[in-house]
Amino acid sequence: MADLHFLANPARFRRFSQRVLPALSLATVLAFAVGLWLALLQSPPDYQQGETVRIMFVHVPSAWLSMAGYALLAALGAALLVWRHPLAAVMARAAAPVGACFALICLLTGSLWGRPMWGTYWVWDARLTSMLLLFFLYLGHIALSRAYDDPERGDRAAAILALIGVINLPIIKFSVDWWNTLHQPASIMRLDAPAIHPAILLPLLWMAGAFLLLFVLLVLVRTETEIDRRRIEIADLRASEEASERAA
């Protein structure tokens, strides 16, 4: 926790991310290279779904990260509204488009997996609809944070939306248990052991790790950019104030 407080200062965060980014970039590239090799070439076809199971290696990690990204937005929203954490609004602005992209990937790849397995690209069942709602919540967060002239008001409105929308996360997770859906029930995050053979589970977990590294990398880069953008805005504001003082 002490380390997180250390990073609450935007300048310190910037120095930290600049130190971490080169190693993180290299680790992400290597993780994706190995992950794609495992997913496309090494893993065996599924006994029921055949080769289409390879779509799972990108579909499931993007679903996990879109949900984790929204949980992060909610936590940052709480940090902004309750503690007025200086970095929370900046990081939320940086993380929302990344989470939205992962939600979009989940929807697109799910649709492409659904066509050969279910015979349709889309059905309005509970899991798919709640996932689509998550994507719209991300879009709402992005739009709200940029909707006001005063960025602080936009950040607070987006934080409230993030906290309200977090109710959708358990709905997504348990939708396959609460309602009759075409989507299969949980096969990894279960109370008993995962229902997937290790030969398929390993590439899936490896790809999830690669996606996680990319998520962290993108959030760090975008947070750093947002901090710098705010520094430019402040410098412009100071310059215009000094100019108006001189004119007066």
Binding site: V58, S62, C101, L112, T225
Partner: protein
């Protein structure tokens, strides 16, 4: 790959396009902002800039 190859390759292509686009957009925005910072002389630590401004003031 089987007859489903087109679905598998399209899915991976979607991932590549969306994530590749996001990476390019993020790095592009970063380099634009860095150029603007450099143009305003804000790319160095604050104590460096203060020292430089003081030196400039003394020279005047």
């Amino acid at each position: 790959m089987s007859s489903y190859g087109v679905f598998i390759l399209t899915a991976y292509l979607c991932v590549f396009v969306v994530l590749g686009g996001l990476v390019i957009a993020s790095l592009g925005a970063r380099s634009r902002v860095r150029r603007e910072l450099a143009a305003r002389g804000l790319d160095r630590p604050r104590h460096d800039r203060t020292r430089q401004e003081q030196a400039r003031g003394a020279a005047r």
